[in-house]
Structures are given as structure tokens and as C-alpha cells.
Symmetry: C2
Subunit: 296 residues, 2 copies
């Protein structure tokens, strides 16, 4: 796919590093856009690309456009604003990698189809170094034929690539992943918090958890941070609340009762209300360890 021209919209730490990665791998990264024009100019000079002044220019200058924007309303703006990516977009492929409400991806796919363009939904369960080195955990929603056509490019961005189903399904799967992860994080915070209150040696307790049915990925990633109150943010409590909320809304729409997800959302909301929403998700331990701010 290296004969195709690649555009990028949204050059934050994820999008910018994905552009760098593709450039390194020999792709022609032809068009860059960010609402912060200086960001686009700096990256353009770094990777020998072009900073576009309008979204329509990006579409005109590229065959495949990757977007990594902040939220649903930014997504609406880049596709349905006065200046937008769908202008003269026939034959173009848009790969939308922001975490959005699942239904947005369905709406985009329908709008694209009307003008002869294609979309794919990309959901990333990874962070900045993985974006830079083409090692994303990448889940794709959309038409399978489009996925197959774009596979070489997607493979170059990822170390694990999964086709999940029709548009919107990748966001649903990501919401499910984060919902389960958040509950497991809350479980760990309760287990360690009660262990602390009982005067149990917490290093030993973590080791026992790791060797028994209490083991989990979040035990590996978050337990030490909970003990040390080191809540520098990888994935914020407010993001955790947002994703658990998306999952609970999906549950409501399908009549699935999820009391553990609900209890977890309430804990993350409480953390946000205490002004601790920008802590890492491990900050939920502030609510369960004796003597910490949220436990009183």
C-alpha cells in the first residue's frame, strides 16, 4: 500500500506518532492537519510532509486518511462542518481511530457510502510508545472487504490486529474491555484496601493474589501503584468513568443488568467529584485504603 498517499487528521501524541511510524516504514505521508496549526507545521517539517490549512485539502491530497480526534463532537466537526473531510471524497478511505460512541461509526459509514467513500473504525488498546513503533493493539470495525484491502497498512501500525465486525462493534468491544478492566481494578482496590486495614503484609498479599484465582492483568499493572499511591496517569479515572458509562448505556439498551459495572461507575464518579478524576484509574484505591482522602 506504499504507493498510496496517507493523510492524518489529529496530530496529538497518538496520531502524531502513528504518522511518524508510517513515515519510518516507507509510506508516503502526504497531508497533515490539526486544529493547532503549529503542531501540523512542526510535524510536517520533521517528517517531510505537508501541513494542510483545511480538511478538504487533506482529502484532496491523500488516498487514505487516518483520523485520531478527541471525542464525538470533534468527529462531527471534521466530517460535517463547513470545511470537512467528505468534500470531494469519492474513492477515499477514512480510518477513524478515536474512541467514540459506537453509533457515530455507523452514521459515518452511511454518510460515506452516499458519496462513494469508505470508512473503517479503529479502536486502539495501547499507548504512545506502541503508536510510535507500530505495535498497537488494534481492533477494526467496518466492512470486511475494506478491512482486507487496508490490512497491510493496519499491520504496519499494529502488533495485534483483530477484525471485530461491522462498524461500531470495535467501539463496543473496547467499551466491554474497559468495563471489565475497571471492575477488576475496583476489585483489587477493595482487596488491597481491606488487607491494609487488617494489617496484612501487602507485598505478600499481592503475591498470593498472583498465584490464585484473584490474579488479573490489573494486578500486574496497578497493584504496586495502589500501594505506593503513585497515580500518574496512563488511563485516567475520568476516562474509566466515561467507558464504564458507555458500557452501561449499551447494557440498558439491551436490558442487561450489570450491578458490578454500576458500582464501579459510581466509585469512579465519586473520585471525579472529589477532584481526583485526573488520577490514573489505580486512584480508585484512594477510596478503599484506610486513611486516604476518599475513604472517609
Amino acid at each position: 500500500m506504499k504507493d498510496q498517499k496517507i493523510g492524518f487528521v489529529g496530530l496529538g501524541r497518538m496520531g502524531g506518532n502513528m504518522a511518524r511510524c508510517l513515515k519510518d516504514k516507507g509510506y508516503s505521508v502526504s497531508a497533515l492537519f490539526d486544529i493547532d496549526q503549529d503542531l501540523a507545521k512542526d510535524l510536517a517539517s520533521e517528517i517531510d510532509s505537508t501541513a494542510c490549512k483545511t480538511l478538504a485539502e487533506v482529502t484532496a491530497s491523500a488516498d487514505i486518511i487516518l483520523t485520531v480526534v478527541t471525542n464525538d463532537s470533534a468527529m462531527d466537526a471534521i466530517y460535517f462542518g463547513d470545511d470537512n473531510l467528505f468534500i470531494a471524497a469519492e474513492g477515499k478511505l477514512f480510518i477513524n481511530c478515536a474512541t467514540l460512541t459506537p453509533s457515530i461509526h455507523v452514521k459515518l459509514e452511511e454518510a460515506a457510502a452516499k458519496i462513494g467513500a469508505k470508512t473503517l473504525e479503529g479502536c486502539m488498546a495501547s499507548s504512545i510508545p506502541q503508536a510510535r513503533h507500530g505495535e498497537l493493539y488494534l481492533m477494526i470495525g467496518g466492512q470486511e472487504a475494506e478491512f482486507e484491502a487496508a490490512k497491510p497498512l493496519l499491520d504496519d501500525l499494529s502488533k495485534a490486529l483483530t477484525y471485530v465486525g461491522p462498524s461500531g462493534k470495535a467501539s463496543e468491544v473496547k467499551a466491554l474491555v474497559n468495563m471489565v478492566m475497571n471492575i477488576n481494578t475496583g476489585a483489587l482496590a477493595e482487596g488491597l484496601g481491606l488487607g491494609a486495614a487488617l494489617g496484612i503484609d501487602l507485598e505478600m498479599l499481592c503475591k498470593v493474589f498472583s498465584q490464585t484465582g484473584a490474579n488479573s492483568r490489573v494486578l500486574e499493572t496497578d497493584a504496586e501503584d495502589m500501594l505506593n499511591r503513585d497515580h500518574d496517569c496512563f488511563f485516567s479515572a475520568s476516562h474509566a468513568a466515561k467507558d464504564s458509562g458507555i458500557a452501561l448505556d449499551l447494557g440498558k439498551s439491551k436490558g442487561v443488568s450489570m450491578p458490578l459495572a454500576q458500582a464501579t461507575l459510581e466509585q469512579y464518579n465519586k473520585l471525579c467529584e472529589l477532584g481526583l478524576g485526573e488520577l490514573d484509574k489505580s486512584g480508585i484505591a484512594e477510596l478503599t485504603f484506610p486513611g486516604r482522602k476518599g475513604s472517609e
Copy 2:
């Protein structure tokens, strides 16, 4: 320690197999007792030991007595009944391996001290094959000197041996392990149940969970059973409710708020009320998958 005589009280599937294991390893298993006398006789003839008619006989015939009984009241009966293990027990060591309320172990240790006997608390996070082959996951509470003295014997019963702290602490740690495990199980049931309701490919979803922050030990042990509704019992829903309840009581006594553990207990209680308490803990998925008994 093979010069010491070993007695066993409680010859169910755990206790009986621990006795077989020690016999195989060259210990002198000198005294067996069970409330079901036939069980004691059968095992005695199998491993060339002696079935005792009274508890006092066990104490008289052994140096170290292991007990594996059903619950707190059975424990009270064997130590404080008319015929009991504390009769002429000076110098004896009692290792109590049933899962009990933590405070029972403290009470036993104090009573033993008054008559010159010793106790250790053993908590097992394993099942029958591990008991038979000396591969228990064994956590010990009690005085550290007693633990060190008994270590060769405990090592022969276990593949993972942890000294946890004073009497009662091993039961506390076990309650914490099971509390966290139960929450993680409930999280998985909600994630897979909602995935099913959304029409997501559940094999794919399990794979994604396993590769991301949603991974857990219960994903390995319970996910397939949840999908297949295969709830043959390894660890019952009613046991899960009991252990989460013990942990919540500990939390209450220490002022630790644990809303996820509470929500999980309520799910397991609901399962019991539906008459499904003897399902495996994976049966909690009956409450979250669309169209199943408890989801309506």
C-alpha cells in the same frame, strides 16, 4: 519429621487424600478419625493405619494432628465437646486446615496455650488432586516458630507454602482472595453477557479480553464454562456467597466500604435464591446472559 506420628481428623476428600499423600511419602500416619466411622475404618485398612473411636484417642496416638472439618461448629465440637482433641494434649501440635471464620483460629490458639499445646492455621486454595499429590497451595497462620518447626511436613503437603502471619490471618487472606476472585468472576459474566446481547462473537471477545487489561485468572478458568453453561461445581456459588460475606464482615469491622464486593454478594445471593446455589461460581453468568433463567 518422619519420626513423628501423624493423626487426621476429618477424612473427606481433602483430609483423606492428605493422609494418603503423607503415607506415600513415608510418614507414620498413626490415627484416623471421622464422624463417619466407616470412612475411618476403610482408610485405615487402605493405608495401614488405625481408626480411632474417640478424639481423645487421636491425641493420645499422635504427635501432630491435622484437622479438616466442615465448618465453625464442627470445629467447636472437636475441640470443646465432651470427647475432644484437647484431652491430655500437652506438647501436641494441631494444624487446622478447614476454612473457618478467622477469629476461631485465635480462640483455638489461646485455648491450646493454656494446656501446653500448639496450633497452626492452614488455609488451602486448592482441590482434591492437589491434596492427593502433595501439591496444595497452602497458607499458614500462627506463631512463626511453630511454622518453622512444622515446615518439612507442610512442604510435603504443598507445592506453594506461604507463612501469612498470626493465627487468623491465613483465613483473612483466603477471604480476600475469594472476594477478589468473585468480583472478577462477576465482571467477566457482565462483560460476556453484554457481549452476547450485542451479538458480538464471544470467542473473539474472550481472546481480546485475554490480550488486554480485561485479562484475569477467572477468564482462563470460567469464560468457556459461562459460554457453554457448563456449571459443574468446582467452587459453588453458595461458597462464593459465604466467602464474600466473610470479607464484607471484615470490611464492616474495619470501616472499609466495598461496594463492588457488596454487589457481587448480592448477585451470588440472588443465584442461591433462584435455587442455583450449587452451581459452580461461573453460574453467575446465568444472571447476565440474555434469555437465561436469572436474567429476566
